[in-house]
């Protein structure tokens, strides 16, 4: 009898191990396939030249710059508002109906599909406000999309700051805001930054919200203005892999673009993990 149940356990655990292996396998496959075919494409020229000849030649620098512009401006919009909102949730709002309401709303905002943000951005920023298809329209759309991530990250990080820190600060006559600004925020900051980095990854990779709000098919010149459309890495990859005139010829460029995009995400993840580890070490000291 003991044997039968232990055999069952061994069987079940083997299945679970295989499943976990499978997931790792999938990820490695995706990575390897992009890396192996993309690495040969990457060159100094690919990273620094503008696309030319129907995007089959040259580089992708305009798409890289576009993606960074979108990251920069959406962060500029979402981070301050999101962090303040997170502070409100954790430091000002008491547990109760209001807090639960806002939490549910924030969760819902996080659950809205990215393409719906695209629709919304088109309707309000591009058309109603008349900003047209531009960096700023796209940045606002993306900012709204990552807002819930920023808020939740901030809230969670603040929650981990020991309550006694606050008491100690009050005991020395500090006001609420001084306590938050001088004690609570600095303590929570490394954690918050980790979350912010991951939200940047999200901005870098999203396509659907920017298709109608920010991107253009092909732009050969480098431009940093915020009221014009840009190229962006994920959209560039989409265009190259689906609507090229010469799909085979554009595949190489597509692999190169995919590798750049995935590397960007990879680096951001490494950075976030590195920070988290550092944090763990310093907090156990």
């Amino acid at each position: 009898m003991q044997n039968a149940k232990n055999i069952k356990q061994a069987l079940a655990f083997t299945v679970f191990r295989i499943l976990a292996g499978l997931v790792v396998g999938i990820l490695l496959t995706v990575f390897l396939f992009i890396f192996l075919r993309g690495i040969g494409i990457i060159s100094w020229e690919f990273l620094t030249a503008a696309p030319k000849e129907g995007m089959l030649k040259g580089g992708i620098v305009t798409a890289i710059i576009g993606t960074f512009l979108l990251i920069f401006y959406s962060a500029l919009i979402a981070f301050p508002v999101g962090i303040l909102s997170g502070i409100y949730m954790n430091e000002y709002l008491k547990d109760g109906k209001v807090k639960r309401f806002i939490t549910i709303i924030t969760n819902n905002l996080a659950g809205i599909p990215s393409v719906v943000f695209g629709l919304f951005g088109l309707s309000i920023f591009v058309n109603t406000l008349g900003w047209g298809v531009s960096v700023i329209s796209g940045a606002f759309t993306l900012a709204i999309m990552i807002l819930p991530i920023v808020i939740r990250t901030t809230e969670e990080s603040l929650k981990q700051v020991e309550y006694n820190f606050r008491l100690a600060s009050y005991a020395m006559g500090a006001t609420k805001w001084q306590t938050i600004w001088k004690i609570v925020l600095p303590t929570a900051m490394p954690n918050i930054i980790t979350g912010l980095i991951l939200s940047v990854g999200r901005v870098a990779g999203e396509t659907a919200p920017i298709i109608f709000t920010a991107v253009a098919y092909f732009l050969p010149t480098i431009d940093f203005s915020i009221d014009k459309p840009v190229m962006a890495l994920p959209y560039h990859l989409y265009v190259l892999s689906t609507s090229g005139i010469n799909l085979q010829a554009s595949r190489d460029v597509a692999f190169g673009t995919a590798l750049v995009l995935v590397s960007l995400i990879f680096i951001l993840n490494l950075l976030a993990n590195f920070l988290r580890k550092r944090l763990k070490v310093s907090s156990t000291k």
Partner: protein, 393 residues
């Protein structure tokens, strides 16, 4: 001292304002989506600037968009099918006007066209004439088109938003396509996801788990478009060869990608739920002589049930809302799905691929916003259900 407090009050004002930002955003999103989307119900599904006229003796006064299409496709050929007299339908429009009149008949720059239309309509009892309104004499009897109703939008099987003269705006196939692909995705994402969650929460050693965790996070971070690209280059041809299909862009390809993409959500949230099972419960099970697997299957997972279910629901939500990957690999044919080996089209893919061509404020544009509103409602419901399931405990 005063200034210091004033500054603080201002900052706190900002904080209070920011606290409500998400609520504000959600309200604004709802207003804009639904405002654009509901515009559809005030519009007639007919090419802009066009009108339809019939013979004065014809008793039929109203007709639906679908019936117009059937008439033009010769599926309906007699007025009695539409509740009128037994009279053969004669279609008369700019595309077949040369059958009845020569260029000379119509005069210079169609100056005689209104006269000719009037004549033709008065002479032919069975005529249905579709022309720009400016060519239609006011004395002619107009055939009204039924405005689009929510029900006809939801239950309509045909999606030809740019068809002339009457765009067909039925999204049934698209909604079913969305659910179909998501269902397929869940068929393998759920067992794998829950399995891996159990493995990470209960079975894996700490070292292995800490190695796996960033992997799962990375999987969650890979952009949708990269998965789409991967699917297009590898999975699509693979399926085509494997099942000997005419095209590899199928529901199955979409389901595979969506399944992979929903995995991190399911794994992370389920793992958290399993982890939050009180240690005492597990120990109590061990103390009764249960082995680890028995404890997992009979005590730990049942205890974490609501959390795991809510994780799965949110995973489904993720799959339904996913855009780029399905857009790239499902083939985008708006037909009601019957198999996983045929192309399908999802809500998200429809919006992403067509919004660029749709004229702002036009009927197609508004239909896409309405589709977006439906998607919004679906995901809202899903989140709400997940929330309820979690709270039930």
């Amino acid at each position: 001292m005063r200034i210091k407090y004033l500054g603080e009050k201002i900052i706190e004002g900002f904080i209070y304002g920011s606290g409500w930002i998400t609520t504000l955003v959600v309200v604004v999103i709802v207003v804009f989506l639904f405002r654009e989307g509901s515009g559809l119900f005030n519009k007639k599904p007919l090419e802009e600037g066009y009108g339809i006229v019939i013979n004065a003796e014809n008793k039929v006064r109203e007709i639906t968009a679908q019936e117009i299409r059937q008439i033009f496709e010769k599926d309906i050929t007699n007025w009695k099918e539409l509740g009128g007299a037994d009279e053969k339908i004669v279609v008369f429009s700019l595309s077949n006007i040369d059958k009845y009149f020569t260029e000379k008949d119509l005069g210079e720059s169609f100056s005689l066209l209104p006269e000719k239309i009037k004549e033709f309509v008065q002479e032919n009892k069975g005529v249905i004439a579709v022309f720009p309104e400016k060519y239609l004499a006011t004395s002619l009897v107009h055939l009204e088109i039924a405005p689009i109703s929510f029900w006809s939008f939801i239950s309509g099987k045909d999606w030809y938003p740019t068809a002339t003269p009457s765009p067909q705006l039925g999204v049934l196939a698209i909604i079913l396509g969305t659910l179909w692909v998501s269902l397929g995705a869940m068929l393998f994402a759920l067992p794998i996801g829950i399995g891996v969650a159990i493995y990470m929460a209960e079975i894996a050693e700490k070292r292995v788990r800490e190695l796996l965790k960033p992997f799962i996070e990375l999987l969650a971070g890979i952009p949708s478009v990269v998965f789409g690209f991967f699917g297009l280059v590898y999975i699509v041809p693979l399926l085509q060869n494997l099942f000997n299909l005419p095209v590899g862009e199928t529901a199955l390809a979409g389901s595979i990608l969506l399944g992979i993409m929903a995995l991190p959500t399911i794994i992370t949230l389920s793992e958290d739920a399993i982890r939050s099972v009180p240690k005492e419960l597990k120990e109590a099970s061990f103390a009764l002589g249960a082995n680890h697997w028995q404890s997992i299957a009979r005590v730990i997972v049942p205890y974490a049930k609501s959390g795991v279910i809510s994780a799965c629901i949110l995973g489904i939500g993720r799959a339904i809302g996913e855009t780029m990957a399905v857009l790239m690999v499902t083939g985008n044919a708006a037909v009601i799905p019957t198999s996983f080996l045929e192309p399908v089209r999802t809500i998200t893919a429809t919006i992403a691929s067509e919004l660029g061509e749709a004229q702002q404020g036009g009927i197609h544009y508004e239909a896409l916003f309405l589709l977006g509103s439906i998607l919004f409602i679906i995901t809202f419901l899903i989140n709400w259900i997940a929330e309820l399931v979690t709270r039930k405990k």
